[in-house]
Symmetry: C2
Subunit: 123 residues, 2 copies
């Protein structure tokens, strides 16, 4: 079984690659009880979360991970904190952001995002 | 019973007030299985975590919370993401930071910090 660090790294790489190329595919990473807090707006469930992510007002986006830390939780989950930068559309100035994920396993042992909190960080 | 938002707010206020006035009292918020990742260094257990926090090379520190988001977890815990600024010693220029906490309840229903990840954010 892969270590929690390996799962965290693979998950985050996959998450941002998917976000930057075909956002609607992110739906597969959430379930009906997943939660997203995105810049204070709150969404419950894969459908609402995907709708929110698809509604974000940019055409192009590129995430760059700067720091990724992960810890196992008591119940077989993984908590992840990402610090990164993102570029939207034709902007030249990257924005700093922080995103916390809590991955848990479903009954098949498949990881999904239970908690997801995203915030831009202003210097 | 207090809502998860109330618990999160009270916890974070208490945590930073204690950090800024008497760091060694933070030991009470951790248990033997608690984890801290502080700027990539990893500590396990209240004793090691407190030792690490006490060893930080500044005399004075002041945290200012800028954003605080919280979500409940599936097992009665709370995931918290804080974005803030901190001033150390005589520095005039605050540093941005991001800190993710995962609070869980012990057998008496008392919340403690199970996961704690801290990172400075460079603009």
């Amino acid at each position: 079984m892969a270590s929690f660090e390996t799962v965290a790294k693979q998950f985050v790489d996959f998450y941002y690659t998917t976000f930057d190329t075909d956002r609607k595919q992110l739906a597969a990473l959430y379930r009906d009880n997943s939660m997203l807090t995105f810049e204070s707006g709150q969404q419950l469930g894969a459908t609402n979360i995907t709708e929110k992510l698809l509604s974000l007002p940019f055409q192009k986006v590129a995430h760059k991970i700067e720091m990724l830390d992960a810890q196992p939780t008591a119940t077989g989950g993984i908590m992840i904190l990402v610090i990164g930068k993102l570029l939207v559309d034709e902007e030249q100035q990257p924005l700093s952001y922080s995103q916390a994920f809590h991955l848990t396993q479903d009954s098949n042992g498949q990881y999904f995002v239970y908690n997801d909190i995203f915030r831009l960080v202003y210097g």
